[in-house]
Amino acid sequence: MAAPRSLRMSTGLRVASIGFIAFWCLLAAFPIAWISVMSFKLPVDAFASNPLHVVFGPFTRDAGKGLSILDIAIGGTAIWQFVRFATRRMPHLVKAHPPFGSTLLGWIFGSLLYGLVFVVVIAWILPSVMPAINKLAGPLGKPIIGFTIEHYKSVWIGDGFYRNFLNSLMVTTGVVTVSLTVGTLAGYGLARSGSSLAFWILIVALVFRALPHSVLVAGYLPVFINSAEFLRPLLGELAPTLYGKPFAVIAVLVSINQPFTIWMLRSFFQNIPAELDEAARVDGCTHFQAFRWVIMPVMWPGVITTGLFSFLLAYNDFLVTSLLLDATNQTMVPAIAGFFNRETTTTDQVKAVAAAVSITAPLFLLVMVFQRQIVSGLTAGAVKG
């Protein structure tokens, strides 16, 4: 429907509005795009004051690490195909073959496989095949842009960043599954109860959501460090020291995230008509059966959205993980603090940049695949007031 004439914008306003959007998009994408460009260059180019040097990397190219037109064409096509696959085919594939009937598991498994294939093709197969093709191609095979993945290699393999990645994976998977299991039950109960007890629980949860995390960590630390002594009367010699243990951090992050999770899931469950479970109850189901057979099949959009936000909290956390995990179990975000704290040479700095880009890449994919869910999650709490 075309807007009525009186509501149309004047040309000046239209130009200003388009200009503003363009400026905002540039502003939003620029820092992230720029550090990803930096991460592929030798330090001389990465920290050059001339932006063209950063983009084209003349020193990196002269050092024999460059991309030819042919490299760019083939690599670009490969990446484009990956993107198309992730946005078009993958959602259907996951829906068609959910392992053990769980879409969530399907997504976790699918993204892991996808990431693995991506890394193998882009970082291993293409770099080992391309030099031979470039030699045959003549002028098209001459390097024109400086490009190197050596910083990624030295961070991931040399500095053992893959261990931090695995720790992050473990912590986030744990947080998302536990958080959703516990939160879904509570959210459903709260949405269907309507008693004033439910109201007070939600109010207390709201207060808990506002607490600074450092306050809570100040409470955990002394207990976690000495937990072996505290728990000995209960558990005997098996009493663990909770400090530094990933499962303790999972429990902490799940709890910190509970207030937000139950508020969000409650608002999703309120949108599922109560007549559905009432009908099931009339047919003789208990509340749990009604939940299992009537509500569970229709709750997934809300659960996936909430799961995304739980994932973000666990993945992005710095404060809790840096204080409660020891060096061997460190996740990616606090580990990067180690990289930039010893940023003595420029090579170290570019390595830190490469690590930062590595942390951002999965989030980028996440927005690409789940944009709709993220938007609906952001507005879920808000539009209802």
């Binding site: 009186s6 509501l7 914008m9 306003l13 509005s17 503003f20 959007i21 998009c25 502003l27 939003a28 820092p31 992230i32 720029w34 550090i35 050059a48 004051s49 950063v54 039950l185 509570a186 459903y188 109960g189 709260l190 109201f199 629980i201 109010i203 207060v207 808990f208 959501r209 506002a210 607490l211 600074p212 450092s214 306050v215 809570l216 960590v217 100040a218 955990y220 630390l221 429990a251 902490v252 910190i256 509970q258 509340h287 749990f288 973000l312 992005n316 404060l319 204080l323 990067i336 603090a337 930062a356 951002t360 989030l363 927005v367 944009q371 993220i374 938007v375 952001l378 507005t379 539009v383």
Partner: protein
């Protein structure tokens, strides 16, 4: 729903929140009035060396750690009242600074410095986030339908990025002769060091937070704009309202509940400012309240964590949270009462 069924559904979640939120909160409250430290004893020892006629004897007292049978230092916990609070607030220096009317003297005391920054940060970013979010939402709402998806995608990036990494990525643009430093130097034709002064770092931190949160405000407002009643807008047009007046009297009142919602969420989050300090490595210049607690909890050179100081500063931080929450709770309470009647 019967109480027993309700309790089974909500139980696990409540249990987790009780063990990991309510109990630690109580523990922090208790810790802030107590100090746990190793026991030191003064050992007086007389050492004598043989000398002519008389022995030469020296008495010296040494302070030593008391160990138990296993060789682990004995620790005692004692009630110290408000002493930890006093030492965190550094009241002597505070009153001295107040008596001299000296702002700069006040700003060298950690707690007051952190409080000043946290409040400035929260109050300055709030209108910026709301304003920028609203502007983007209005602009996108008038843009062609085909590009809106892409714009939302790009806009979500700053929101979704890990806060520490986001702060770092902006910092790297300014490090040394980084691209933006070089650009600014070219524009104003003088040497600058964005990361060398407290106020420039603070400016970057404000910019980062607005960049990070504006997408959230944008998405919420944009969703709200979709539900603006077109009839009201048209009747406003017929009544002769121009664009600004329509915005002022139709759109903004419609969005008001959302503006309140975003403001409250932003106040809660901005008051907890922490990641910026890590990302911009500004601790030498600017610190925040939550960073202060974090710093107390980080082991110092001897491996000790100042747990009771951390607890005291955490409790002081909570005061601000309570002040922010009061209007929110009052509103929720009123809505609840209205819903019951």
């Amino acid at each position: 729903m019967k109480f027993r069924v309700f309790a089974t559904f909500v139980g696990p979640s409540l249990l987790l929140m009780f063990i990991f939120i309510a109990a630690p909160l109580a523990a922090v409250f208790w810790q802030s009035f107590h100090v746990t430290q190793p026991v030191y004893t003064t050992v007086v020892a007389e050492t004598c060396t043989p000398g002519f006629i008389n022995q030469i004897c020296t008495t010296e007292s040494r302070i030593q750690l008391e160990l138990d049978e296993d060789g682990i230092p004995i620790r005692t916990t004692e009630f110290v009242g408000l002493q930890t609070y006093r030492s965190v607030l550094e009241l002597d220096r505070f009153w001295a600074a107040v008596k001299d009317f000296s702002w700069s003297k006040l700003m060298v005391i950690d707690f007051w410095k952190a409080l000043r920054f946290t409040l400035t940060f929260t109050l300055v970013t709030l209108p910026l986030v709301i304003g920028v979010g609203l502007l983007i939402a209005l602009a996108v709402n008038s843009a062609a339908k085909t590009v809106r998806g892409q714009i939302i995608f790009v806009s979500l990036l700053p929101f979704i990025i890990t806060p520490v990494i986001g702060a770092l990525s902006i910092r790297w643009l300014f490090v040394g002769d980084g691209i933006l430093t070089a650009f600014l130097e070219w524009v104003i034709e003088r040497d600058i060091a964005m990361l060398g002064h407290a106020w420039t770092i603070e400016l970057l931190m404000l910019f980062y937070r607005v960049w990070h949160v504006a997408p959230f405000a944008f998405v919420v407002f944009y969703a709200g704009l979709q539900t603006v009643n077109n009839d009201t807008v048209e009747s406003a047009v017929i009544d002769g309202a121009n664009r600004i007046e329509r915005l002022r009297y139709v759109v903004i009142p419609h969005l008001m509940p959302l503006i309140v919602f975003v403001s409250l969420i932003h106040l809660m989050d901005a008051y907890r400012v922490f990641e910026e300090i890590v990302g911009f490595r500004s601790q030498g210049y600017v610190i925040s309240l939550q960073w202060l607690t974090y710093d107390f909890l980080t082991p110092d050179e001897t491996g000790n964590r100042a747990v009771s100081s951390a607890s005291a500063s955490a409790m002081l931080t909570m005061v601000g949270i309570v002040i922010i929450l009061v209007p929110l709770l009052r509103k929720t309470w009123r809505d609840h009462r209205a819903g019951l009647n």
